[in-house]
Symmetry: C2
């Protein structure tokens, strides 16, 4: 780990950074040296710059090619290969060309030794025939590898610093995930999602870790292991590989309009378990027992790790939430929405600052960014102007798209250009078995437990689909490549790469057959709940039945969620956005003055006219952003085109948060034409 951290700096996100006021000065001073020598160095430097451009160009052309092929695939409705799988294939091809096609010219970097005492300095001044040159520390090299320093120039150029992934490519991906969470279905399944993400990931990590430790023991027995491989390494592998990324599956779900609850479960789980996996792996790395026996179990160190986990997770969560809330307040109390450009820029900067703030405080930027995204979507989004809403959505969509495809094509490339692969068949087979078992041990028992409490059960077909969708993607890769210093880490990295390839291609290609095999409905209108064909569907309309529906919805939702919802609806939304009931009605009367200050004038208007502005959604796939304006209830069981029925009179009679809850839960989040509330049905239609 150590020194390499120092090199995060030039990467620190888009702009960055910056090692020093010095730099400007160090350019070789004008006329003092012999012109010829200077020219030679300059030529060399230019050559290097040119190579950098070429290598980056390679990636850009790769991405361009990927985009064009994706278009072709989408155009022809090919679904067996997702864009990320495609990006990997192109990456592989370029990797092969670079590896075997380019001459292995060794660089002009001639290693030079001179001895020093004590620990290394970060800056060296070297006197070369009277002139002084400054050198900076890059890191330690193990003695055996000194002669490996010379290698193919081009291969080296296309190898990125691993921290690029964490500091530049992951944040937009994760932020976009948070920002595009479909709130309705996400919150309705919040309890299950949290259980899968936290408990599930922990279980999976522990099981995979232990199984792999068995495999490692076996390898040692057979004599297949040539270096150390500790139990903590195995656990780390478990944490790394527990980060699922069903990007392929979700893309197909989106395209086929597969079941929305399943979508919410999978998406929510994958988003949150990325966060859990990151923090979990940091905690495992932080597990350092004191004393002699550095790799045995130590209760103190273990609890320290647990503490680290809780600390980092909650800290990052807070950071994200706080920046989101600050942005919401700023956009609420200024009239920035008159200037969409300023608004978008502010939104972008605030979201970025979350990352930096978290990193500066020692938390995890990527995790903070996720929660920031969720907060922004939940509060700030309501305050933005219409133009800024689409701008921010589109901006992050493009960033997300580019970053994701870049990572996947880089993965393909890395299989051939990465210099220190260690492929151990036993370990690889063991890992595949372990992730299968780990996923199974996490999905089925947890689903069983959750189903005890859930009214709307998670059916077997859903469980199988979740089991099947345990792909590994960008996050696992980024975690694995972060540290490839030791033998064990290198083996873990190579294995992770293969697992990603395998799952993305096979599972990605198999999603559509699997869906039909498991009889999971496709072509569902996202607003619509389970179909009426095989159950006790009832069209509830009018005021009397409305209250019946309300009660069911109430029972349906988790109590935790209801608690949170009413707090959110009565206090947070009115404080942070232009929607919700006025604080003057929800806060106790002695808070009158504060309530009055915090409530924006629009709220009173909203109260009069449309009270529902708090439930607009950011669609993941669509182009529409709906601010639905009414408590309309449309129950429609027919599969034909449906029209919305508007209950104009119900509008003025209700005002409690419970009702708003239903409205939110049932709010249309897709089509403007079906501006209605859908019912929530207590039924399993596929069990």
């Amino acid at each position: 780990m150590a020194e390499s951290l120092r090199r995060r700096l030039p990467l620190l996100l888009l702009l960055l950074l910056a090692a020093g006021g010095l730099r400007a000065a160090e350019r070789s001073g004008g006329g003092s040296s012999s012109a010829m020598e200077e020219l030679a160095t300059e030529k060399e430097a230019e050559e290097s710059h040119r190579q950098d451009s070429v290598s980056l160009l390679t990636f850009i052309l790769l991405l361009t090619l990927t985009i064009l092929t994706i278009w072709l695939f989408k155009h022809r409705r090919v679904r067996f290969l997702h864009e990320t799988g495609l990006a990997m294939i192109y990456g592989l091809i370029v990797g092969v060309i670079l590896r075997y096609g380019t001459p292995s010219t060794s660089g002009h970097d001639k290693p030079f030794s001179c001895s020093q005492e004590d620990r290394p300095f970060t800056t060296l001044l070297v006197n070369v025939s009277g002139k002084f040159f400054e050198y900076t520390l890059k890191g330690e090299i193990s003695p055996g590898k000194i002669h490996n320093v010379e290698q193919n120039d081009m291969l080296r150029k296309v190898t990125f610093d691993p921290e690029v992934f964490f500091n530049i490519l992951l944040p937009p991906i994760i932020f976009h995930a948070g920002y595009s969470l479909k709130k309705r279905h996400f919150f309705r399944n919040l309890g299950s999602i949290l259980a899968y993400a936290f408990l599930g990931t922990a279980v999976s990590c522990f099981i995979i870790g232990n199984l792999m430790y068995g495999v490692v023991k076996l390898m040692k027995l057979v004599g297949q292991l040539s270096d150390k491989f500790y139990y903590t390494d195995c656990l780390l592998f478990g944490a790394i590989i527990s980060a699922t990324d069903p990007v392929t599956v979700l893309a197909i779900f989106n395209e086929l309009h597969a079941d929305v609850d399943l979508y919410a479960l999978l998406f929510g789980e994958s988003v949150l378990n990325d966060a859990v996996a990151i923090v979990l792996s940091s905690s495992i790395v932080a597990y350092q027992p004191t004393g002699e026996n550095t790799h045995a179990f130590d209760a103190a160190a273990f609890f320290k790790s647990v503490g680290v986990f809780l600390g980092i997770f909650s800290g990052s969560f807070m950071m994200g939430a706080v920046t989101g809330v600050v942005t919401a307040l700023v956009t609420k109390f200024t009239k920035l929405h008159c200037f969409p450009l300023l608004e978008t820029a502010l939104f972008f900067l605030m979201s970025w600052s979350t990352f930096l703030l978290a990193e500066a405080c020692g938390f995890t930027g990527v995790v903070a960014v996720l929660f920031c995204g969720i907060t922004q979507a939940h509060y700030t989004y309501n305050n933005l102007s219409v133009e800024s809403r689409s701008r921010t959505k589109q901006l992050f969509e493009v960033l997300h798209f580019l970053a994701e495809n870049f990572i996947f094509s880089y993965m393909g490339l890395a299989l051939f250009t990465f210099q220190k692969h260690i492929f151990s068949p036993v370990f690889i087979i063991g890992a595949f078995v372990a992730i299968f078992l780990g996923r199974a041990a996490h999905i089925y028992p947890l689903s069983f437990l959750l189903n005890l409490g859930r009214r709307h059960k998670i059916s077997w077909s859903f469980q199988h689909m979740m089991m099947f969708s345990g792909l590994r993607g960008a996050m696992a890769f980024a975690l694995a490549i972060r540290d490839t210093a030791t033998y064990s880490h290198q083996m873990m990295f190579s294995t992770t790469l293969l697992i990603v390839f395998f799952t993305v291609w096979i599972v990605g290609g198999g999603t559509t057959p699997m869906l039909s095999w498991l009889n999971i409905r496709v072509g569902v209108d996202p607003d619509q709940d389970p179909p009426p064909t095989n159950d006790s569907f009832q069209v509830l309309q009018g005021d009397g039945q409305d209250s019946a529906r309300r009660n069911r919805t109430k029972q349906e939702s988790a109590w935790l969620f209801r608690l949170w919802y009413s707090f959110d609806h009565n206090y947070l939304k009115p404080i942070l956005t232009h929607s919700g009931p006025p604080l003057t009605t929800t806060l106790p009367s002695w808070c009158g003055l504060i309530a009055h200050c915090l409530t924006s004038p629009q709220v009173y208007d909203n109260q009069e006219q449309l009270r529902e502005e708090d439930s607009d959604f950011i669609l993941n796939d669509g182009d529409l952003t709906v601010t639905y304006g009414d408590t309309t209830i449309t129950a429609n069981g027919s599969s034909g085109p449906h029209t919305a029925t508007t209950n104009l009179d119900s509008r003025r009679t209700k005002s409690s948060s419970e009702e708003a809850l239903e409205r939110d839960l049932g709010a249309a989040d897709h089509e403007v034409t079906s501006r209605g509330t859908r019912l929530v049905f207590p039924l399993e239609y596929n069990a």
Copy 2:
């Protein structure tokens, strides 16, 4: 110059880069070293990473603050200070705080000397008590400055590598400038703009260079010069400071809707002269006479420099144009417009690849990006889907906004945090006088010459305004900070900084008074030509007068432009976009097959219905994109609300490119409501 080029790599645009497959390996190898020492180093590294985050955060908070204040200013309609001026002020304040508020702790970087022979290696391996560490060359340090290496850590952190400006911040600014050129007025004034940009910049550079050489001679005489200052340095200063950047003036023009031709002249000149200044300064740097007398005049070296100028400029131009054309072809011949996200991503990647391609070929990326932007706006834009049009526009608008404000706030910061300022009062005063004279010697004589050929003369008030608007901004700063190794360059940098401050604040604040003092019209509808109040305005309507108008328009336009226009309209547009006349009608008959293949089916439809789709505009300020659909002529001299008059019958009778030219020239580019063609008047209304 030399070694520092090597460090362009970590900066090479948003993502990157990446010095080496090595890196992953150099992390200090696991269990072999004593845990305590490793922990210490890791702590240190984390500390450094944290500081990086803090310093970047500083900038982001600065930008956030700037945005909020800009909003306040716009809200209150304050015009005396532009956002860039504001960003500089905030930068200054933070600079003062960092400089005087933070303790001047020297880092842990203890310089260490060990001598080496020959020229320096790029990589050093150092043996520290048995462990090997790798160091990379940062650059040369002049012997006198060895003890200055220790300095305030925080100051160093907030100092960016100068190449960041060239490789990350300038490209989006310049691309956006090219992409948002208002085509109509730009092309109508193309000849004048080119003259101002090329001749003007060369004249200005030469005059300023010579005047400054006089000042330097004087300083030497008085004994104010403590180091060498060559004639080439003076010329370089001339080139650097000739890059005008009237961002403030243009923003105010936009807001007040000042005269569009003046806007086009100023904007066009500033955009192109940035390109000229960059290439000019590279050529001057490339001027290296051989033999002993390295700073005297040498004809061979001079012509080599001229060759370098022409080579780089035309090469960069070609690169930009070619990538633009390729993008246009790709977007034309694929149905990518069904997937706006893919389209936008492709557009972004192709535009970025221009930069890299140019850099890889040894041309200037920033210049290539400019011409790429213009080409994209002229051709590709027509092929994009409506959503992608707004997406790309908004994406680059946000990037441009952030980059520009970042540069300006950095400038403010640099005044205090840059460590090697040399402020010489004589030089500074001389520079102010020189840029004034240089601008005057460039605007007035050139305008006089241009007016000989122009029908629509550049009035005195326009000339005064252009003289007044010679602000210096981001480009001058980026050019000046690029090389601050020698005494002369440091002095030039400090002076440039002061000139930027002064011009942005004073000129920015004085624009509105100046406009009214010079009687330049404001509140002009961009489509509208000079007002009818004080000249021989005639309402031309009907078919007969239409042809009279046509002839005038013809005379009005430069012959070069007419030539280009007819080629562009008849061949390029039909080949590259979905608009223009079908190639089957414009190409000779023996090209029939090719013509048929290249013409998209839409063109025939367009031909039937609306033939004018080739003249949509990208508006710089507005939110509307207009594809005007008719050859309507609306002449309206009244200042009241006007309605469009449609000549439906004229539509079918004309088809030559000459007519299309008029239509384009006269096309409305702002309001959909005034869907008409404005007349071009051969008159000076303010002379």
